[in-house]
């Protein structure tokens, strides 16, 4: 399911109008007296393009999907006002641990990213980075109407309207704000999707990486990072 996108947008991809001084090519004195060139973006970041990682076949994948569904590790990153709905999940009243949902502090160990509410352009950049750092398979739950169509911030100069133009979303939870129960229901839905093998948005993201990147770069003018954050 490849998405169409404007090929011309690609030409803008490598423009970085707001290149930070730290990312500019610099010349430093090596200990042996020679002067060496350092290009931070090339030298300090992996510039590899990610590859699509196909699921396994048959019952093995089904079993693994079951395990993945029962072990959802959520990245502790609250992007908007909806993040206030996440902490109650670990209270006795909701107790998400029952469902195999646990919070993790680092994207490297998380599978689920809850985009909790509106995303300003500035936060979107961080969200993209965190998402890309998560190991595949990974899932996004979009919480609240802001992520669907901008919600009450639909005409804001600094808040995105449609999350799915920037990151692939598995489950939307509508409402402003949805209550924790709705979030739990969302997790239930995500589990279903995973078990059915339909939650392959991570691969979709990689298939349409250029489209996503063009969209992302259209609004994130201060890019200052490699195209894909490993």
């Amino acid at each position: 399911m490849k998405k169409d996108f404007d090929k011309d947008a690609l030409s803008d991809m490598y423009k970085d109008k707001f290149l930070a001084p730290e990312n500019e090519i610099r010349f430093v004195n090596a200990p042996d007296g020679s002067i060496i060139e350092v290009n931070p973006l090339d030298d300090y970041f992996c510039q590899e393009r990610p590859k699509e990682l196909k699921p396994r076949k048959g019952v093995v994948e089904k079993f693994l999907n079951w395990a993945r569904a029962e072990s959802l590790w959520v990245l502790g990153f609250g992007t908007g006002c909806g993040s206030i709905e996440i902490p109650p999940l670990s209270t006795p009243r909701f107790d998400m641990y029952r469902f195999g949902v646990q919070m993790r502090a680092t994207p490297r160990q998380s599978n689920v990213f809850i985009i909790s509410g509106y995303l300003s352009v500035k936060t979107l950049k961080r969200a993209i980075r965190s998402y890309e750092q998560m190991p595949s398979p990974k899932y996004i739950i979009a919480l609240g109407s802001c992520t669907i169509n901008g919600g009450m911030y639909w005409d804001s100069y600094n808040t995105i309207n449609r999350l799915d133009h920037y990151l692939p979303v598995d489950v939307y939870i509508a409402g402003c704000m949805p209550r924790p129960e709705a979030l739990l229901a969302g997790f239930g839905k995500l589990k279903e999707l995973i078990k059915e093998g339909k939650a392959e948005k991570a691969n979709e993201y990689i298939q349409n990486l250029d489209w996503y990147k063009a969209n992302q770069k259209k609004i994130i003018k201060d890019w200052n990072m490699p195209d894909y954050n490993w």
């Binding site: 109008k17 707001f18 352009v121 500035k122 950049k125 669907i148 169509n149 901008g150 639909w154 005409d155 804001s156 100069y157 600094n158 808040t159 995105i160 309207n161 449609r162 133009h165 969209n215 259209k218 609004i219 994130i220 003018k221 201060d222 890019w223």
Partner: protein
């Protein structure tokens, strides 16, 4: 408050005196006199605490209004000093030598209104917006709706209602 304003009047040419209540008053002063006035208030009348600096875009009058809100912690009074500056040449003297913390406000105003404060620390760095490259968003000639529609892929089919009208039509469909 009244006495204070009178005293100020004796020393500085102020106008538009607006006494709100016992502990709050607003005065206006010319751009050139503002910083000396603030300094004078700070050193001689105990207005040591800086509360905020904000701006209003009077696009019709083609000017920005800056309001320095300062406070006297000894008698709990606050004084707003208003300054009007030209919109075309939006520039104001920085006051960071009086209050260190004011540089944050000045940086924000620079970003949001494009009002320049020469020599203020880090005034040219981006503050909330990263990589903003059009006119400052708080200027009233910036059309945020249009910008959002052009930029953020509005979802087709979304309809927006004025809450008051919408509720009225729902609750009292007959009217």
């Amino acid at each position: 408050m009244k006495q204070l304003v009178e005293i100020i009047q004796n020393h500085f040419p102020i106008n538009d005196i607006d006494l709100r209540k016992k502990s709050l008053a607003f005065i206006s002063i010319h751009q050139n006199q503002a910083i000396p006035l603030l300094e004078w208030l700070k050193t001689t009348h105990g207005y040591k605490a800086f509360v905020l600096l904000t701006a209003v875009d009077w696009i019709e009058e083609n000017r920005f209004q800056l309001t320095y809100l300062i406070s006297n912690p000894d008698n709990f009074t606050e004084l707003g000093v208003r300054v009007f500056i030209d919109r075309e040449k939006a520039e104001m003297v920085s006051a960071h030598h009086l209050w260190k913390s004011i540089w944050v406000y000045q940086r924000e105003l620079k970003e949001m209104f494009g009002i320049n404060f020469p020599n203020s620390p880090r005034v040219n760095e981006s503050f909330i917006l990263e990589g903003w490259d059009t006119i400052p968003p708080y200027r009233r000639d910036f059309d945020t709706k249009q910008y959002s529609e052009e930029t953020y892929f509005p979802r087709p089919g979304r309809s927006t209602n004025d809450p008051a009208k919408h509720m009225k039509s729902k609750l009292y469909p007959k009217d």
